[in-house]
């Protein structure tokens, strides 16, 4: 048994973290909100492309284990672009289906971004293609007929698109299932990253903010909230990494493990958001302070996770029958 990272994995993660620290600070996440300067968001995609992230699976030869901590970093930075969707979901699916539309070169060159539909299409306005994963089949459509939608997380640039018609990209249920699991794993990894970011912001704040003559972070009530939030995150993260391993090895228990990761990460990120806002006090309830950028993203990503379906999948793996079934 081994459960650690290679030196290469650590180095890549640190490189991505450094890149995002400079290319995706809170000001760039803000710029992705309506009325912001989209050119800084475009510059961020160029920087990610320069690192080879869109072609991570094919060109760099990374698997889910290599990828998962990179995706966690994109969550930590709240990257307002479809990184998971393009790099971890669409690119490998296109490669596996022979890329009938010839989209992969554009993805690798950074010209083509793929968003994934799920009710809304997050980042649809910043994408050139939309991937629809629907049961046993997948479709690829353009943004024709897309309608903008206003979202709580204003950086989502979300749209609604018509249901796809015509030829599916693939009707291979296993490939589509794999793509859906990669999307779910990406969501779980981002949620862990977002949770860590909110916790870091809060720890920084409560060490500085003084009331009653002392830092508010010295009060037990605040400490205990933050300790609980940390424990949830720290115990969700290994489940996310284990799911990546199960997915990379196409192991039979991968569905159960991805769903476990999603459920633990969703709960951990929601608790981190709630704790972060509470421990900040009134400043956390403003749009001037940065915390809301990460909290709203966490809620948006969590909302894409169908908790009931994931619970049912773990229950089925454990052979537990529900009364309604």
């Amino acid at each position: 048994m081994r459960f650690g990272w290679t030196a290469d994995q650590v180095a890549l993660r640190e490189a991505v973290r450094d890149l995002l620290a400079s290319a995706c600070p809170p000001s760039v996440v803000r710029a992705a909100w309506p009325g912001g300067d989209e050119s800084s968001v475009e510059a961020l995609w160029s920087a990610l492309t320069g690192m080879g992230i869109p072609g991570a699976v094919g060109e760099l030869g990374l698997d889910e284990v290599d990828l998962v901590s990179l995706l966690e970093e994109t969550g930590y930075a709240a990257v307002p672009l479809p990184v998971v969707e393009t790099a971890a979901v669409a690119a490998p699916l296109l490669a596996a289906t022979g890329d009938p539309g010839g989209h992969l070169p554009g993805i690798l060159a950074g010209r083509t971004r793929v968003a994934v539909a799920g009710g809304l299409v997050p980042y649809g306005r910043r994408a050139t293609l939309v991937l629809h994963l629907d049961g046993p089949a997948a479709w690829l459509s353009t943004l024709d007929g897309a309608v903008d939608e206003t979202t709580v997380d204003g950086s989502l640039a979300a749209v609604r698109v018509p249901k796809p018609s015509g030829e599916p990209l693939t009707e291979d249920a296993e490939l589509v299932g794999l793509a859906a699991d990669r999307l779910a794993l990406g969501a779980a990894a981002q949620l862990v990253g977002l949770g860590r970011r909110m916790l870091d912001l809060t720890v920084g704040y409560v060490r500085e903010r003084r009331q009653f003559g002392v830092p508010v972070g010295s009060f037990q009530a605040v400490k205990h909230h933050l300790a609980d939030a940390l424990v949830r995150l720290e115990f969700a993260a290994p489940a996310v990494y284990a799911a990546a391993w199960a997915l990379a090895g196409r192991r039979p228990e991968r569905g159960r493990d991805v769903s476990t990761a999603v459920l633990l990460a969703t709960e951990a990120a929601r608790e981190a958001a709630r704790t972060a806002i509470q421990c900040h006090g009134a400043i956390g309830y403003t749009v001037e302070y940065d915390l809301h950028l990460y909290a709203k993203r966490a809620w948006a990503v969590a909302a894409t996770c169908d908790t009931d379906a994931h619970l049912a999948r773990v229950a089925e793996a454990l052979d537990l029958k529900g009364a309604a079934a």
Partner: protein, 382 residues
């Protein structure tokens, strides 16, 4: 790839050997509670069988009765042990708490003298931390040790309490104040005390489950030679913190214990046929909690082997496993419904689980430790 959550060939062989031995040797009928006098004696017999087959302390060096097992193998043994429904380890305070401290701070003489007898369940160790006025505030202990230069040792006086299985054990390890003038955390020394020494009185009393699992230990001018000081005079706090790290973290509460409990919960839920959605969700969440604990400890072992000391992270383990244990048992009692009132394995397990958030430092203390030493929040405050 350094993630591989399957057994290597040698780990698989180790697992198979442990499983085969346990299958052939675990008593078919559960033993009576090891926290009663009669049950304790039966458990000591079991411990001696484990020792004869060299399974009582697998991670120790062979010369002390172990197998030189790696941390991974130790985790595997624990998984198999609990999955087999094997008896509770009444030697745990010695083998899992005192022994790691002896390996870190003991002299060769102490290790040679104490470890083989501990592994063989000839000496049975209990813990002497808490006192009537010092529970969570361990540094507030008042029991004293006064120097007896002529006799080459110390004279111990005072009272210890909440001592698990103290009424049945043969030896106690604990903290005593050797320098009353020094600051609270200083002036403490870690002593190893035989409970049959003149001046020791032990009184057992009932826990929440009614078993006589607790004891008070009264010491009146009890002589302990210098050879039974562990880690140096005045070093008691530092040495004791190593033991509490083991107690809160990996060595006392391996994931195997909770994986097995979660599997039993799932089997119970399955046996009920169709479950109401809420109960099914409770069972699923408890199972996921056990899995999360398992995976977290695997990451932890990898980090430990890479030389990252556990330190305050062991407080995160303690918070997680103690609350998980309550969750697992609460879920089981809800599934059992009216049958939960029967005094049986799940109801007893539930009562025991309620001690988890209290012993080894209450969870309130652990949260403060995590906040201050892991997150770096300022000390003090209210």
């Amino acid at each position: 790839m350094t993630v591989d959550l399957t057994d290597t060939a040698s780990e698989a062989a180790f697992r198979a050997e442990a499983r085969a031995w346990l299958r052939a040797n675990v008593p078919a009928q559960p033993l009576p509670s090891g926290d009663t006098r009669e049950g304790f004696a039966r458990h000591v017999d079991w411990e001696r069988r484990l020792h004869e087959a060299r399974w009582s302390a697998v991670s120790w060096p062979e010369r002390y009765g172990g197998r030189d097992a790696s941390l991974w193998e130790w985790l595997i043994f624990e998984e198999e042990y609990h999955a087999a429904g094997a008896p509770q380890r009444v030697t745990q305070n010695g083998i899992f708490l005192l022994a790691p401290t002896l390996f870190e701070f003991g002299t060769d003489g102490q290790r040679d003298r104490l470890l083989p007898r501990m592994a063989a369940a000839e000496d049975l160790w209990c813990q002497g931390w808490s006192e009537p006025e010092a529970g969570s505030d361990l540094a507030g202990i008042r029991s004293t040790a006064v120097r007896d230069e002529a006799a080459g040792g110390w004279r111990l006086s005072g009272q210890k309490t909440w001592t698990t299985r103290g009424a049945f054990c043969t030896h106690l390890f604990g903290l005593f104040r050797t320098d009353p003038a020094a600051a609270r955390h200083r002036g403490l020394t870690y002593f190893l005390v035989p409970l049959d020494a003149p001046g020791v009185t032990v009184r057992g009393f009932g826990r929440l489950d009614g078993d006589e699992g607790f004891a008070e230990v009264f010491l009146s001018d009890v002589f302990v030679p210098d050879a039974d000081v562990l880690g140096g005079v005045g070093e008691g706090w530092r040495v004791a913190m190593a033991t509490t790290g083991s107690e809160r973290g990996l060595t006392l509460r391996s994931p195997g214990r909770f994986l097995a409990a979660a599997d039993r919960l799932v089997a119970l839920a399955r046996s009920r046929g169709s479950l109401a959605p809420r109960l099914r969700e409770r069972a699923v969440r408890a199972w996921m909690g056990a899995r999360a604990y398992h995976l977290y400890t695997l990451r932890d072992v990898d980090a430990l082997l890479a030389g990252v000391p556990a330190g305050a992270r062991s407080s995160m383990n303690k918070l997680f496993w103690s609350e998980l244990d309550v969750d697992i048992h609460e879920a089981a009692l809800e599934i059992l419904g009216p049958e939960a009132r029967v005094d049986a394995a799940w109801s007893r397990g539930f009562l025991f689980s309620l001690s988890g958030p209290i012993y080894a430092g209450t969870n309130e203390i652990q949260r403060t430790i995590v906040a201050e030493r892991v997150l770096g929040l300022p000390r003090g405050g209210g």
